[in-house]
Amino acid sequence: MDYAVETIHLTKIFSDWWGRAKVYAVDDLDLQVRYNEVFGLLGPNGSGKTTTLKLLLGLLHPTKGKSLVLGGDGADTKINARIGFLPEESYLYRYLNARETLDFYARLFGLPAEVRRMRIESLLDMVGLTAVANRPVGTYSKGMARRIGLAQALINDPDLLILDEPTTGLDPIGTRQIKDLILKLAQRGKTILLCSHLLADVEDVCDRIAILYGGKIQAQGQVKDLLQQTDKRQIITDAISDSTVEKIKQIVQAEHADCVITSPMDRLETFFIKTVVAAQEQALPTSGAVSTTRLGEFLTGQLTKESIIDKLVSAPISQQTTSEPTKTQQVIPAETIEPKPDEQLLSKLTAPVESSSIDTTIADKKITTEPVEHKPAEQEIKKSILDQLAAPTLAQEKSGEQTGKSQAGEKNDV
């Protein structure tokens, strides 16, 4: 059987200056990663995970044994062209900005300028760095650097993605996003080999795992097989009445088995994401990464020129079908009439504006679903949609400001 990654008696011994064997970093490792699976390499610090990856990619030479990546040598350029690699830290050129960084890596693949530009924008949007794309990456926080690191690993739409601790330094949303991305890529038939010691992450996404210790595999197999407690059963129901619960208990006890009934807890991750999403909808300012949670479209193979145009032309409908269709017109008189003092305006702005958030969410949904019907006032609205695509928070803030102003204007009128 063919494997995406295969190591045969792979051994790496680090020797000291005199040539004496000091450490067995990887010891007689036989690893098989099948095509189209998400494989997790687990292990405590210093168990040889990263060394294994470096051996696979030819950054280190094995002492004994060999490794095959996509059926060839991991240092071969033809193989490299089909691999995406994210090292244990995002090692970036500090003086380049995010866009230039991605452009540099894309140019190493010889991608034509048009494709490069499209992919870069799409990836920046995906990892939520569009708003800060012109800042040198040296000024990025660790999580932001991680995001750009991930983007560079995806720039060639790789068949095999090798991720070394992909979620370190990322906030829970970023983590969730990477996990979703991994699952989506796996659905598209990609192979993913990831190294981590964050067990929750691995558990969520991996089909198979191997646990490494001292450079040797200690356990290997399907996550389900390894973790399933075959001597227990779990039943999940909707909210049911206490009497029904009692009935169930009786049935179970009739089989002489123990039974515990509780309400399931939300996972902390889920709760955190809910909270932050709510805050984002209120357009609270942040200097950090703002993710659109949209997958890089070229990665899902959906992006065509038509689809962009579709979005642009379908935008007007969404605007017009909102509950307050005349809002943009109201802004104009507000601006021509002498504005109210700043204090009042500021208080309006800082107060959460419900209508605006509802407005944008509706607009967002409609963009992708509505078919083309007609296109009135194209210019104006195109621009606002582009703004939203490029920087959702900015657009939201702006719309907040507009509503603020318009309300101030209405008052004036009254």
């Binding site: 190493l108 690191g149 060639n156």
Partner: protein, 457 residues
Amino acid sequence: MYSIWAVATNTIKQAIRLKIAAIFIVLLIVLLPIMGFTATGDGTIKGKLQTFVSYGLSLATLLLCLLTIITSVFSVTSDIQQKQIYTVLTKPIRRFQLLLGKLIGVILLDIMLLTLFAAIIYTITIYMPRFSRVTDDELTRLNNEFFTARASLTPAEPDVSQEVLDTYKQLEKGGLLGELFLNLSRDEIITQLTSQKKLEKRAAAVGQELLWEFHNVRPADQNENLFIRFKYDVSVNPPDLQVYSQWLAGDYRQVKYGTKIETPIYSFERKDVIRTSREIQIPADAVAQDGYLAIGFINVPLNDTVVIFPLEDGLEVLYKADTFTANFVRANLLILARLIFLASLGILASTFLSFPVAILLCLVFFFTASFSGFVLESFDFLSEGLSGVYSYTLKPIIGFLPQFDKFSPTKFLIPGRLLSWSTIAQVAAPMACIKAPLLLLLGLLIFSYREIAKVIV
């Protein structure tokens, strides 16, 4: 190819944005015009220009050399040290392409900066006489001796080996060797005799004449002048330290074979101070069609001393062979060759050394090459006792280094000497096209087989 170019442009961006190059650029852009205003030299406009070009070009060269070493070493070692190389080398780029990209980036940066600085120096040099108060006389001298590229011809050295051997045998027979040369070996005696004989050929007793013949004299323009540059040495100092002389210049064969006189023969009667270089100006039409020119010197009876032309700078014929501009461009090519060599050296050093060590190694090589004459001599002198070890270890390395001091561009520009294409081919081409690629090749070999990742367990 695209990947090489991507790396090259990235290297340039790195040098500029990390302000490595910026410091050098600002320094030069500020310093060069200041030097233009403050340079005085010996007070004449020529001296002023010579000082400016000499210091300006030397400074620009020195700074560019240092910049080249730093950028080439930094761009490779920082990639390895800060591990960006992990993400780069796992993309479809070969290791040699990465190094080549770095080298091309550094060289392109060098070309841009060198062009910039050369343009500044050139502009200041050209415009300085126009903004200074200069007499016509000074201007003529400037044009003849500075804004020019004069080729220099020195008389062919006569073969005196047979004569020397004869003399040696005679002395040996007469048993005079021990008496004349106390405790000297045969080789040393031969060397002394040879220089004596050579000097004899360049000495004229009172009433005697000397004749030098030159071939391949090719002045750029028949209307230009030729210059005989000479220096007298004497056996007895004349009372006023002046020597009377008659000089002849032209196609001597017309006189020798009595053919029809086609080109004029010029004659000058002069009185010149001794031990100082002097120049005689002769019209270029004295040169025969086939580039032949003879120079005659007659030690007129007014003198009471033997006149000797010293071996190293006793006599040469100068003529304008090219323009100052062309010479200046070639001088910059010479500098560029030097920079290419240093860039390759930097790349080589950084394939197996860390940043500080690689920089140190490059600087050692750079300064050795800059003082190669001194270094070679002193090593030769000091190593007489341990010649075996020396000649198999250090000597080949020093021999491989180019000799920056021997072919310094200012050596040609200051006296307005022609830096010919053939000199470029002999000096710059081996440096940039043979030695630099060899260094790079060695670097590529090391880099291809080394482990990129560090040992982390």
